[in-house]
């Protein structure tokens, strides 16, 4: 009896593994579905009004369990998006227009664990930020690869708890959004700048504005940004705050363009990205259901700094 049971168990395990397939290419049905998805997104994008209000989502991709702890987002190019896990430095390259995880790789030869909060792409380099302000720099990897990294200490761990990072091409620097000010005035929204060329921090915050001013008429007591990105069309800084379910748009000078609640379908918005053709992407960490990436039509504005 035990032998027979073990044989059945082993057989089922093998079958389960085999059923997952080797992952090379798509089946005919999948290829057709992906084609339909691309067309559907184009149609929805054209049909969506480019006003200031967020309309209905264009798509909402349900992420696999291995990406349940999805945190930051960063655009690799016009179709590919980088998403990373909160606790493990595992990066997924996602074709966000068709809803496909193209490949996944890990940072560090032994698979780093930590509290990773945001990701940014600057040219051919990728930066991952931990909540203590440490930056990890690495190059994109192939499927299953473990890439080597360089570590940069911003020395801001005692100043701030960080939750987001973005690449600002205009100043060739990284923007570090402070979720919670640990030392100093807690009632201010603070964003630091890290110079990529010098691999060094710009000592003074690039933005430090009263939180009240940002909140405006919204019914929030505080504002804890969970990610930041730069709108390539306008150069504006776009932030999300998971706790308040807030979406904020600021000019590089620190003027508030808009602050609005996110739709209810965002239980824990941990990442944000904006494409050049006006798609806003918001990632949500899994809570009662799976992690997701949601696409919205992002209001088109007059470019103040040119489209990258």
């Amino acid at each position: 009896m035990p032998r027979r049971f073990l044989a059945v168990l082993a057989g089922t395990l093998l079958a389960g593994t085999a059923c997952r397939g080797n992952g090379n290419g798509y089946s005919a049905a999948e290829a057709a579905e992906l084609s339909v998805r691309a067309q559907r997104l184009t149609q929805k994008l054209a049909a969506a009004s480019a006003d200031s209000a967020l309309g209905e989502p264009l798509a909402r991709w349900i992420l696999p369990p291995t990406m349940a702890e999805v945190s930051g987002l960063a655009l690799l190019d016009s179709t590919r998006l980088l998403a990373h896990n909160d606790e493990t430095a595992r990066i997924a390259v996602v074709d966000f227009r068709r809803g496909v995880v193209l490949n996944q790789f890990s940072v560090g030869e032994t698979g780093m664990r930590g509290d990773f909060e945001g990701i940014a792409v600057a040219g051919d380099r990728i930066f991952l930020v931990a909540s203590n302000g440490t930056l990890y720099e690495f190059a994109p990897g192939e499927e299953g690869e473990r890439v080597r990294y360089a570590e940069h200490d911003t020395r801001l761990g005692k100043e701030c708890e960080f939750e987001g990072v973005a690449h600002d091409s205009a100043t060739a620097s990284l923007l570090l959004a402070c979720k919670r000010v640990l030392k100093g005035d807690e009632s201010r929204l603070v964003i630091y700048r890290w110079d990529i060329g010098r691999r060094a921090l710009v000592p003074e915050p690039v933005i430090s504005i009263p939180v009240e001013e940002v909140i405006g008429a919204n019914p929030w007591d505080a504002l804890r940004p969970s990610d930041i990105t730069v709108d390539p069309a306008t150069g504006h800084y776009v932030l999300v705050a998971a706790q308040q379910r807030a979406l904020i748009e600021l000019t590089p000078g620190g003027e508030v363009v808009q602050t609005r609640p996110l739709p209810d379908a965002h239980p824990q918005a941990e990442g944000v990205a904006v494409t050049g053709d006006g798609i806003l992407l918001v990632s949500d960490e899994a809570s009662n259901s799976a992690g997701t990436i949601t696409l919205y039509r992002w209001p088109a504005r007059t470019s103040t700094r040119g489209t990258p």
Binding site: P2, L9, A10, T12, L13, A15, G16, T17, C19, R20, G21, N22, G23, G25, Y26, E30, E33, L34, R37, P57, A59, R60, W61, I62, L63, P64, P65, T66, A68, R90, V94, D95, G99, V100, V101, L102, N103, Q104, E143, A286, N288, S289, A290, T292
Partner: protein, 361 residues
Amino acid sequence: MSVFTRAIDLLTLGSDRPIRRLIAYYVVLAAVAAALAAIFPAADRLLLGRGITLPEASPIVLQDALVATESTADALGANSFTELALTTALLLLGTLMLMLPVSWVYMSARREPGHSQAVAQTLLILPIVVAGIVLIVRNSLALAFSLAGVVAAVRFRNTMRDARDLVFIFLAIAVGFSAGVQTLAVGAVLSLVFNLVLLLTWRYDFGRSALAPTASSQWREPLATLATSNGNGTVPDRDIVLALTPDKVDLLADRFERVRDVLGSDRKKPRFNAVFSFTTNSIAEAQVLVQKVLDKMTKRWMLDEVVTHSGKPSEVYYLVRMRKAVSRDDLLTAIRARAGDRIGSAHLELGEAAVEQQEAV
């Protein structure tokens, strides 16, 4: 299972010592887990709290939540029914394997004889149920509250006979939890350390009052006195008494304790009041003859012990309840008359109650 037993025998060189066999069990279990993890990389995830879910090979076509409804499997974090069923089955099997040695220790390592079969079975079943509940409730506050409501509606009241039984139950719950959160490694260490500590405390009688003498320490002094030539009677086998090792003193002390329990003055109406012993080279035949006399001349008797020796006569001991009318000499004479050619020496040791009885007569 016989392969498993053979592996344990191989590791312990056939030793019966419980600690060795226990460690060997865990070594074999670890080897099986390592082999399983080597063949199926997903298996080691159960030990480390990451679940069996494998990172899927890319590309992965994602589901659009706006087009299709979210499936239960997505909510549970498992890719398929097979995966979910396998995860659960492996976890529960692992729990059972970890609790088996705990139940063995529960049944064996105790000073007082007897254990509760219900508790022994509970030790195997409880962690499986706990693991199942944790697997279901995990990550769901609503389910956790529902469970609390259901449990509150059912009354569990049971008084444990031994406080240590309660500790075993707590351990069963802890191992169940570790399986439920898919961290069997913690459960394995918990089970191993618990068993080893318990066996060591049992082996060294930890917690015994230093003032309470053990059976052997109680009898060591009288035995030494026996072996000393002090002019108070003769010691037939003085050299043997002097040559006794501590283990043999323990064995002898156990026997003395048993006899004293039967013959001692503590009991008001002892069931037996004398010990009859004889030596013989033909045990079976001598026993038949002696027992016929005992049937006839004593109130009751019971065979207590047969001690066989190589190279010298064996010893046979009977517990006897003497009749008032039959004296010590009467009985010994009758036995000599009936079985004299089969037995060597014969002794009848009267307990205090019997001596008083004989004196009264």
